[in-house]
Symmetry: C2
Subunit: 215 residues, 2 copies
């Protein structure tokens, strides 16, 4: 697949690497294409560092890995060009500037706010409950179990594509239903932050949705 | 310990059984003490079915397993008598009458609303992210891993007591911080409902908070 990863932070750079290792063609989009290109070079021939507009025009799937605070994500998507028909993977969380609370939720979510701004795109929430530190080759699995990658969205075909990307990144995809259910996935990310940072548990952790294995 | 379980529904009856099996003395409180006594008889000598007031006056720890909708929980606690100094384990979720959404969240939680009504009690949120169907002897563990019992609260000693109860019930206690973090645990329960009921995944599932095991 041709993927655009928008954002060169902890999440964006690590997802770009995992996707590149799975042999996807990755266009890393940044306000600062030189920074994106430096990351791309470390990933080999399948990755390129480009502007936001070049990344999205080259790709079928746009992975949003941008901060939420100070309107950063919404401002960024306004500058991405026409995303009609494209799959937008929303990895964001509506975190306050200090990360220690969510600035929206319960009756909406960052995923729903993004979808409102991109009526022609197929928005799928994913990767938002996983810490960057476990988005590393070999770190996605704990004992016998992969970390779970919950995803939700309203377009079934787009969700299938995203489930494949979650698998390619080394996680166990679990369908969490319609996009509105991002209202429940985003608080889960904040719970993770509270335990890891608030209580000092650290970020080398992951949620697993365990189902009974019938013998 | 002397425990009061308030509520004879799916959660209350199963928690009462798990606590009785761990040799706690369990007072099952109900508006209908005959119903509570029928459950108690099936649990053996450690359990008694009584009125709400008898249950709470006999116990040090009050386990609230009541529905949220139609003000059921808040109305019930107003009738429980004086809970000053007692530990109140809040197992509720602020579910709409059809269970398929949360009626509050993000800036508050059912735990915080309960705590406001019980200023003298030590409220700890627990058990709310676990389905009744896995609160059964032998079903708390999936493969090698117990389901996680997240808990949060503002009184450290009360939290230690509740962590022990979670362990006694067969789950892995994970400290989720202050009571305010119930805002993140309650949406997680709704996520579980969406996957189990909304998407038909079923209730024989549990969340696990996986930490790296250092060899």
């Amino acid at each position: 697949m041709k993927l655009a990863v928008i954002g060169t932070g902890n999440i964006g750079s690590r997802l770009a690497r995992l996707f590149a290792l799975a042999n996807h063609e990755v266009f890393i989009g940044s306000r600062d294409p030189k920074k994106a290109e430096a990351i791309a070079i470390s990933l080999g021939k399948v990755a390129k560092g480009v502007t936001y507009a070049e990344a999205t025009s080259n790709a079928d799937v746009i992975v949003l890995a941008t901060p939420w605070a100070n309107d950063a994500t919404l401002a960024t998507i306004r500058g991405l060009g026409d995303l009609t028909g494209k799959i937008v993977v929303d990895c964001t969380n509506p975190l306050a500037p200090d990360y220690m609370s969510n600035t929206l939720g319960h009756t909406t979510s960052s995923a729903e706010e993004i979808a409102k701004q991109l009526p022609g795109a197929k928005v799928v929430k994913a990767f938002n409950t996983i810490f960057a530190d476990v988005m590393e080759p070999g770190k996605q699995t704990f004992g016998d179990y992969q970390g779970t990658g919950f995803y939700c969205g309203d377009d079934l075909k787009a969700k299938e594509v995203v489930a494949t990307l979650i698998q390619d990144a080394g996680f166990e995809p679990v369908d969490a239903g319609v996009l509105q259910n991002a209202r429940y996935l985003e608080p889960m990310a904040q719970l993770n932050i509270q335990i890891a940072y608030g209580l000092g548990g650290g970020t080398d952790v992951a949620f697993r949705y365990m189902r009974r294995r019938v013998a």
